[in-house]
Each structure stands twice: as C-alpha cells, then as structure tokens.
Amino acid sequence: MSYKEKIARRAAAEIAPGQVVNLGIGIPTIIPRFIEPDFPVVVQSENGILGMGLPTVRGLEDRNLIDAGGSYVSILPGASFFDSALSFALIRGGRLDIAFLGALEVSETGDLANWIIPGKYAPGIGGGMELAQKARRVVVTTTHTTRDGRPKILRECTLPLTAKACVHTIITELAVMAVTPSGLVLRELAEEIGVQEVLEKTGVPLTVPKGTIPVF
C-alpha cells in the first residue's frame, strides 16, 4: 500500500454514517476505495452532484457525468444533480459535514494554504476556498513534509491562505493530528512510526498525550 493509500484509508475512517462529504483533488480522490460499499455516506461534487459513487467502469463512461476534477464517475441510488449555485449553497450553507483537502502548508492554528504559490503556481481559486472556510469539518490529507523534506506544518503559513483557522484534523503518512485551542495534538501514529520522528518533521510543538498512542 502506497503512502497515499495509507493516508486515504485513514481519512476514510473520519466519516461517520450518514455524513455528506466532499473529496478534494489529490489524495482525497482515492478515499472512496476505502469506504465499505454499504457504508452510508453521501459524496458531493462541486460541479453539481450529490451521491457520487466510484469512478466509472472503463468503457461505460458517460460524457455528461464527471466530477469536479474531470474524472468520469458513477452515481448511487438517491443521487441528484443541480446547478453550481445550489452546489455551493450546500457547501457554504452548512450542509457539508467534511471537506477533505490537500495542503501546501497548514499552521498550528489550522490556517490552510493550498491554492497559490505566487509567481510559480497560480491556476486560480476553484471551489477550495469555500470548502475550506465553510465545511463543518476540514480534514487535511497531505504528506508530512515537502519533497525536499521541509515541514508543511508550520507556526504560520508563509503562502497566501486559503482560509484561516479552518483545519480540524491533519492526516499524513506519519500521524493523525488534531488542531485544538492549545495547539496541535498527536492523536495517532502510522504503523512503524515513532513519536520522535513525527516531532522532528513537524515545524511546531506537538502535544503528545500520555499513555499509548493508537496506531493506524
């Protein structure tokens, strides 16, 4: 299992029965692989779908049925289609239980930066800002560090924010961390990962609760 799959599998466990969730681009798109087929969850897509299922079986693609990332998808019984205004009404109006989002940087107070690197990467805003700011819970799925090994979890984001104080939980290939009023708290460790490694690769103090840390 790749590190992305590990993160996605752990992220899937965040979903409570009956919740409405949105899966951002990147790692979140593979979360559905780790949801049991009969688990009651409703997946929303910004382009106007509620009740998305798995990616379409090859050869059965429907030219009118893609997700917000452009992939051909299937729908489940009870699905509905709607326009872009209603789609974001759902997001901003408080009916989205969890947004799973990728990150360039996350701060210890839950600020999220994931849409722009000035001068380098500026493809636009998309739906991410509304998802980050208005989902009832934001779960960030990300590698713990950048490709060149620098921490992505920082005291303060250096990149322009997507939304302030929006992240509730961070899931990486090393750990699950919660954003709390008293800072980041280690909740779980990945298999075969030690506390020390996580502390070293995190750019901010991380509270380690007493007792055994659960492993995922």
């Binding site: 009651p40 409703v42 289609f81 709607f82 209603l86 759902l90 109006g93």
Partner: protein, 231 residues
C-alpha cells in the same frame, strides 16, 4: 442506506419556544398544514414565523398567530387574512414586510451561506427607511441581510427515504428556498418512495438539505380546493 423518514409522534422534540420557523407555501399550495398542526400541538410559543403570507383566516399559520403563539411574522403580504391584519393593527403581533422577491432572496441567501444581498428594490420608497444603504459603482444599494431559521417546515409532493424532494406545480414557491435555510429541515410528503426511484435530474431539493421526511397518511380538507376561490 440513509433513512430520514420520521414518525409524526417524534416531531415534538424538535420544537421549542422562541424558535424562528420558516414555513413553505403560497396560499394553500405548498403549505405544510399537518406540520403546522404538529407545531401547534407541541405548545411552542414566542415563535418568529417566516412565510410568504399568513394563509387565510383560521387556516395554516393563521392558527398559530390567532392562538398567540407567534411573537413576530416576517412576510410579504396579508391581503387575504383580515384576522391577522387586525392583530397587527392592534399590536398583538409584530409584522415585518418585505417585497415578495426580496423575501425570497433573503431566505435563499441564508440558505446559500451569504451575508446578504444588495438590491435597489424600494430605493425610492419609504422602504429604505431604517435600511443600511451603501454605494456600489456609484449607485445606492439597500443591504438586505440573509435570513435563516431554526426550523423549516416544507411540503413536498414526493420524497424519497434519503430526503430528496419533488414539488408539484405552483406548490413549489418558497419551499425549495426554505429547505436550504434552516438548521433543521422537516419535510412532509404526500408520497414517500425508496431512494433511487426518483430521476436525479428531476429532484428539486437534494437530500443533503433535508433532515426529516414525514409521510402524510391522508391529505386533510385544508389541502383541498378552496370553495370561495372557485370562480
């Protein structure tokens, strides 16, 4: 499979004194008469009601108002309800009027997680009194804050068990707007079908907005054709 169907007996727990309650309907079509009765029977009082109009005398939300259960009514027009106009004139209920489409937009904005809308409707009238006015591109605009409820009571023609709703003809009106604009959305439905039976392109209110679906056992007389409106 998610199942939001709910029995009438369970509704009591959702109602409380002082709530803001949005109620669908424009005249008889789309008014959730049985949910209104449930609210009435719950005993909740000090309510703020939001509805296009107050139904007609002794019908629908007029019953809530006539029994003194509503502190305030946010509405558009009371032309067909002399009883409530009388109560308003005697100061027995506070009434806030909005242009019909602006009331719709305020509710929609509440449902859409907006802070409000900007409009020029009424800009040259007494309506602008006590409104916040700003300038946008050199043009005066009335600030109309978004409106949300604690509860919305919705009438649907068809629902599925997951909470998808379809309305019929002119019974749609404020229902799909209010179904987005409250913390708890309760829909009564004339017919409830299993999830998957409705065409996803025909659904008017997607399931995520709806918390409870209450099947209507039998349409009562109030839902019928009003003899005095037959020409």
């Amino acid at each position: 499979m998610i199942d939001k169907t709910c029995q009438w007996e369970r509704l009591d727990r959702y109602f409380a004194d002082g709530q803001t309650v949005m109620i669908g309907g424009f005249g008889v079509p789309g008014t959730p008469f049985l949910l209104i009765d449930a609210l009435l029977n719950s005993g909740a009082s000090g309510l703020t009601l939001v509805k296009n109009e107050a139904n007609e005398d002794h019908m629908g939300i007029s019953k809530l108002i006539e029994t003194g259960r509503a502190r305030k009514l946010i509405t558009s027009h009371l032309g067909l309800n002399a009883t409530v106009i009388g109560m308003m004139n005697r100061g027995e209920i506070e009434v806030a009027f909005y242009p019909q489409g602006i009331l719709a937009e305020k509710i929609r904005a509440g449902g859409a997680g907006l802070i409000g809308i900007l409009t020029d409707i009424g800009i040259d009238t007494i309506l602008k009194t006590e409104k916040q006015i700003i300038e946008v591109h050199g043009r005066p605009a009335i600030v109309e804050p978004a409106l949300r409820g604690d509860i919305s009571l919705i009438h649907a023609a068809v629902a599925d068990t997951m909470g998808n709703l379809i309305y019929e003809k002119s019974a749609r009106n404020f229902n799909p707007l209010m179904a987005t604009a409250a913390s708890r959305v309760i829909a009564e439905a004339e017919r409830v079908v299993p999830a998957g039976e409705l065409d996803p392109d025909h659904i008017h209110t997607p399931a995520a907005f709806v918390d409870h679906v209450v099947p209507i056992p039998r349409l009562t007389e109030e839902y019928g054709v009003l003899a005095h409106h037959v020409v």
